[in-house]
Symmetry: C2
Subunit: 224 residues, 2 copies
C-alpha cells in the first residue's frame, strides 16, 4: 500500500487533506508538530482526527519555535488580531511550514513514503508566504535533492497540497462528501483549553464564512 505522511494540525484544512489522502488510497502517517503554539486544543483535535480518519500512526514531534518568538501564535506578548489585517499578518510563524515539511520529509524517508500531504490553501487564507504554490513547488524540488531516496531514485517525493486552489467552501463541501465531522476540528488561533473558538480571529472568520458559503451547518463550538 502506498504511503503518505500527512501534516495534521487538528484544524479544518489539514483534516480535509487527511480525508482526501485516505480516499486516494494512501496509508496515512499523521504528523503533528508541537512548536510552542498558544494552546494545545489543536493538538488534542489532531489526535482525535487521526484516529477517526484511520491514520496508521499519529506522531507528535516537538520543536521549540516558541523560544525564538516572532509571531502572535508563539509569543504571548503579541496579541492575536481580531480585525482584518493588510499584508502578511502577525500570526505568521517564521518558517513554520518549512520546518514542518522538513520533519515530515525526515519521517517520510524512513517510512519509504512517496508523498507528503499538507493542507495549505492560497485562496481563502491568511496571506502566509508558505501557503503558496511557488513555495510548495520549491519544496518538492528540494526534497528530491535533499534525501538519499530522492538522489538514488528509490522514491520520487511528491508534495501534495490538494486544497491549494480551493475556496474554504469547496474544502468544506469536499470534506463533508468524505464524511468528515468538522465538530472535532479546531481552527481558532486562541481556542480555550476545551477547544472552544473565540469567533473573532482571522481563522474563525475564514472558517465561519466557509460554512456559510458552503450552505452547511457550522458545528464550531464558540466561547460565546
Amino acid at each position: 500500500m502506498k504511503r503518505t505522511v500527512v501534516l495534521v494540525s487538528g484544524g479544518l484544512d489539514s483534516t480535509t487533506a487527511l480525508a482526501i489522502a485516505r480516499a486516494e488510497g494512501f496509508e496515512c502517517y499523521a504528523l503533528s508538530v508541537d512548536y510552542g503554539q498558544r494552546h494545545h486544543a489543536e493538538l488534542n483535535a489532531a489526535a482525535r482526527v487521526a484516529k477517526a480518519l484511520g491514520a496508521a500512526e499519529h506522531r507528535v514531534m516537538r520543536v521549540d519555535l516558541g523560544g525564538i518568538g516572532g509571531s502572535a501564535l508563539t509569543d504571548a506578548s503579541i496579541a492575536v488580531p481580531e480585525t482584518p489585517q493588510s499584508g502578511i499578518p502577525v500570526t505568521y510563524v517564521p518558517a513554520r511550514n518549512t520546518v514542518m515539511l522538513s520533519l515530515a520529509l525526515a519521517w517520510a524517508e524512513v517510512l519509504d513514503a512517496e508523498q507528503i500531504c499538507i493542507g495549505v490553501n492560497a485562496v481563502d487564507y491568511s496571506g502566509y508566504p508558505d501557503c503558496r504554490p511557488a513555495f510548495v513547488d520549491a519544496y518538492e524540488r528540494l526534497a528530491n535533492l535533499a534525501t538519499r531516496s530522492g538522489v538514488e531514485g528509490t522514491v520520487h517525493f511528491r508534495i501534495s497540497a490538494p486544497l491549494i486552489d480551493m475556496t474554504k467552501a469547496q474544502i468544506i463541501r469536499k470534506g463533508l462528501e468524505l464524511g468528515v465531522d468538522y465538530g472535532m476540528t479546531v481552527s481558532c488561533y486562541q481556542a480555550d483549553d476545551d477547544g472552544r473558538a473565540c469567533g473573532r480571529c482571522d481563522a474563525c472568520r475564514l472558517r465561519r464564512e466557509g460554512f456559510a458559503a458552503a450552505g452547511a451547518a457550522d458545528p464550531t463550538r464558540y466561547v460565546r
Copy 2:
C-alpha cells in the same frame, strides 16, 4: 552590523565556517541542533566553540529525529561503519540538513539576519546528498519563497556554504590561519563522553587524513 545564523555542530567543518563568518564581519548567532545523536560530546564542543569564536549567542534547539530512526547516528541498533562504504552510508540522517537549515531559517527571520552559514563540504565528505551544491542552491531559493522577509524583500536570504568546494586540508589550513584551535572540536561519530574520538569511523578518517595533507599537527584526542 550584518547578522548571520551559523549552524555549529562542534565539529571541524562548522567551526571553520563560524570562524570564516566572523572574519567576514558578521555578528554570528550559533545554532546547534540536538536531534538525538549518539553522543553529546559534539554539543559540548559546540558550546565551547561558540564562546571561543565570539558568537553573539549560542542556541541549542531540540528535535527528536532519534524517534524516527533510520540512521546509524540516531539508532543505537545500527552500527557505525569502520571501513569505507560505497554509496550513501548508513550514517546519513534522513533530512537532517534540511531540518537544521529550516530551524536556522526560522531564527534568521526573527533576527533579521541576511545569511545562514552551514559548513557542508562536497569534496572530502561522506557522500551525503544534503551536502551538495545543488541542495544548497535549492534551499536558498526555497528560503526566499518561504518567509515574510523573503517575499516582502526586506531580507534576501543567502545560504553561505564557504567550505563546499574545499578539500579537508584546505579547510584546516583556512581555520588555522584564522586562529582556530581544533583541539576543542569533536568530529567523531561515536566519541566518548569526554569527547575522545574512536579513530576508526569515516569522520575520524577524513579528519586525520586532512591534518596529514595540511601538514599540520593533529590535536585530536583519541580513545586509543
